[in-house]
Amino acid sequence: MRCHRARRLLSAYLDDESDARRRESLESHLAGCRACSSELAKLRAQWDALAEADQPPALPADLWPQVLVALDEAERLPWHRRYRGRLLQAACVTACVILGFCGGAILSWRIAPAPSSVPVGERMLVAEAFDAPAFGLGEGKEDLLRCVPK
């Protein structure tokens, strides 16, 4: 095992959350690598220091009555305010579906060839012109017709 890989495994190892295979290979690496062993010691000391530094305040004694008040308020809310979050989610999903549908429709409209606005008479004339043996373009007539300026 290389040091880079070993360092990634140190965290789970310290938390005793490594599986047996990883633990064994890490331990055999640590036995022969002073740098990684010292890194492990550093991480362990740092982890212990966190616990010493941590002093959260006690739960405020007057919080429970406030929870009851908040609960009463939440129950008094009209249904649309109570479910505002879920309504918003549903509105977002609906908006995305509509946007996707419209976007798809616009894209397919732009990609599809536009119908020619050249009058039939003119188209026939051009077709005949390209059909002339001198041009030798009889095969590509339909494609060229699309290129006729509108």
């Binding site: 965290s11 966190l50 305040p57 006690a58 429970w64 929870v67």
Partner: protein
């Protein structure tokens, strides 16, 4: 009378029993408040989050499935509340402790004033380092280090895979180590 277990309390709560909520509050409020405080470092904000978590517990009791431990389910609500916590309040978070906060740090009587000051300084640096972590790394670290939850439970609470959680904790530890080596 035997105390009701968590699943029974949740069942009764879903049926509208407010007494069940009080029992749940007595059992779990401390950990909810602690976690929110460690995340936000603001007592008033932690109160608000605790309050809102218990309102959610009451409203969502019917959706609780006893396959998961109740504490994990509650931590998931706490995590969501903390992550949704408005950006304004997050901006207000300070990365250094005030003099008043440092003075309030308890010290043993045997400590000399210079040692007290040194320890207070070290503590302030550590807490500042935790506050600077990205939100998800901070929550992963709090749930692991202080709440002693298993990786599987934290992964459920954070809504991520175990592998992602491992990576969050590795990065959190690396960030703290960088902070220490400054």
């Amino acid at each position: 009378m035997r105390p009701r277990d968590d699943s029974k309390l949740m069942q009764d709560l879903a049926a509208g029993d407010r007494q069940a909520l009080q029992e749940l509050y007595e059992r779990h409020a401390e950990r909810v408040f602690r976690t929110a405080f460690r995340f936000l470092h603001d007592k008033d904000e932690a109160r608000d989050i605790t309050q809102s978590v218990f309102v959610t517990i009451m409203q969502s009791a019917g959706r609780y499935r006893p396959e998961a431990r109740l504490t994990t389910w509650i931590y998931r609500i706490v995590v969501n509340r903390c992550l949704d916590h408005r950006a304004g309040a997050d901006r207000r978070m300070r990365t250094v402790l005030t003099d008043r906060e440092i003075e309030q740090i308890p010290a043993s009587e045997a400590d000399r004033p210079d040692r007290i000051a040194q320890r207070a300084e070290q503590r302030a640096q550590l807490l500042a380092a935790i506050r600077e972590l990205p939100k998800r790394q901070r929550l992963a670290l709090i749930l692991r280090r202080f709440e002693e939850q298993s990786y599987d439970e934290i992964a459920v609470a954070l809504g991520c895979s175990r592998k992602s959680l491992e990576s969050l904790l590795v990065r959190a530890r690396e960030a703290l180590a960088r902070h220490f080596s400054k």
